[in-house]
Amino acid sequence: MTTTATNSALRAQVFAKVAEIAGICVEELRDDTTLDSLGMDSSDAVILAMEVEETAGREIDVGIFLRFPTIGAAAAEIERLAAEESP
């Protein structure tokens, strides 16, 4: 799988996990959706990072969903970090 394809899959995994934990359909999520708007608190953000890590099979900074205000921004950061790691 190319790096671009890998990162698209990563982004999809992030959005899927957010939807799963928030209990909504992934189609309802947008890039500018915040965890707060989904009723998710800081402990949910921590769990989200851990679950994305388990699903994606790569280490994810646990605080990433706390540092980036929208799920789009967090997903972009995860993609950026993954691209840095790729050869």
Partner: protein, 398 residues
């Protein structure tokens, strides 16, 4: 986005290891924005001013954070057994409120009162470590002294044989586990270590209380309510808490104190007088920072409204270096200063306050007997961001 129009966003993220490595400079940067800022990554309002921090810590509407909550959620969601950790947290007085807080705090304080002023074990344990440093002709203050300072003292007090300490020793450097943004692997590691330590100490308490005469463990046991289930386990919890929280805190006061005392750019008393400024060193280092509180009801902090459910960080480190309170004297070390807010304030004032002051003073008294030291390498910081420690501080004898 800040919670209140009058509260600016912090220019620096305080929850990073980078912040923890240079808190003095970083807090100065934040203060240029204001004495009260909002930290988005922590979803909390940060207080820096001594008066605001003191008021917040004494505010009855600001309650202890639900630390176990994250562990429960993560454990349930990801199929992990974190029961030992959740139980351990349920015995930490600073994580409780109401009658449970009172009960635990009273029992812990009663037990600690027996040893807080020092026993012969204290000086002997420290002397042993310092003698080893002298024989080596140099040392690492953190690795050779502070990283297991309180741990070994309390193991001696509790008559835990030296050859039985290796499995429980790691708990003495795991205060980072109280932070919410630790990884899953770190949670698993802490849970495993906690189980081992609690099991060992429960068995040790059961074997020694009532059989080896009055002592710290017996005092703790007797101070617990008669109706409490498994008081031996409760005693083990208290001892584990001393290891997890107390050791890193006391040790960091010593190592960060030495780092400051040996800084050639700042005036300091001579090494033989270090013990005379030990309280001010504790103020200066204030390693247990970011007292986290949640509003149990609508209230006000630093003149700003805080709604029920919202969080604040009260930085005792920033308060202990508040220019409004100290001017430029906050960098000085004198006999006249006390510990400031290093142990917090209000109902959650650290129950280990007197013990820590004693241990730090004894450590500096022992260091006074060594040849004159100077720093011989860069410090290596621990991974905690709320409890700041040094993993290494190499020194050489001149």
């Amino acid at each position: 986005m800040s919670l209140h129009p009058g509260i600016p966003i912090s220019p620096i993220d305080i929850t990073t290891p980078e912040f923890a490595r240079a808190p003095l400079a970083n807090f100065d940067t934040i203060r240029r924005t204001g004495p009260v800022v909002y930290v988005p990554s922590a979803r909390a309002t940060l207080l820096l001013r001594r008066s605001d921090v003191t008021a917040a810590l004494r505010n009855e509407k600001l309650r202890a954070m639900n630390y176990p909550g994250v562990w429960s959620k993560v454990g349930a969601r990801l199929g992990r057994d974190y029961d030992a950790v959740i139980r351990l947290f349920s015995y930490m007085p600073f994580m409780q409120e109401g009658s449970r807080h009172e009960t635990l705090r009273n029992a812990f304080a009663t037990g600690l009162a027996r040893v807080a002023g020092g026993t012969p074990h204290f000086a002997a344990s420290v002397a042993g470590k310092v003698a080893a440093m002298r024989r080596q002709g140099g040392a690492d203050i953190a690795r050779n002294l502070s990283r297991h300072l309180l741990f070994d003292i309390m193991c001696d007090v509790m008559q835990i044989p030296t050859d039985e300490r290796s499995e429980i020793r790691p708990m003495a450097n795991m205060s980072w586990a109280i932070e919410s943004s630790i990884t899953l692997r770190q949670r698993d590691e802490f849970a495993n270590r906690a189980r081992i330590c609690i099991d060992y100490l429960s068995a040790h308490a059961r074997a020694s209380i009532g059989r080896t005469g009055p002592g710290f463990l017996s005092e703790l046991y007797e101070a617990l309510p008669a109706h409490m289930n498994d008081k031996f386990a409760a005693v083990a919890m208290f001892a584990t808490i001393l290891f997890v929280m107390g050791n890193d805190a006391a040790g960091a006061c010593v190592s960060m104190g030495v780092e400051r005392l040996l800084d050639p750019a700042l005036p300091s008393p001579p090494q033989v007088q270090w013990a005379s400024v030990s309280d001010d060193i504790i103020r200066y280092a204030a390693p247990v920072d970011f007292m986290l509180r949640t509003a149990a009801a609508d209230t006000e902090v630093a003149g700003c409204p805080l709604a029920k459910g919202q969080h604040i960080f009260a930085s005792v480190f920033a308060a202990n270096h508040d220019p409004e309170a100290f001017g430029e004297r906050h960098l000085d070390l004198t006999r006249e200063s006390d510990v400031g807010l290093a142990f917090g304030a209000g109902r959650h004032l650290c129950v280990g306050r007197r013990l820590t002051r004693t241990v730090v003073k004894i450590a500096f008294e022992a260091l006074a007997g060594l040849p004159t030291m100077r720093l011989s390498g860069a410090p290596l910081h621990g991974k905690g961001t709320a409890v700041r420690t040094l993993e290494s501080l190499p020194v050489e004898f001149t």
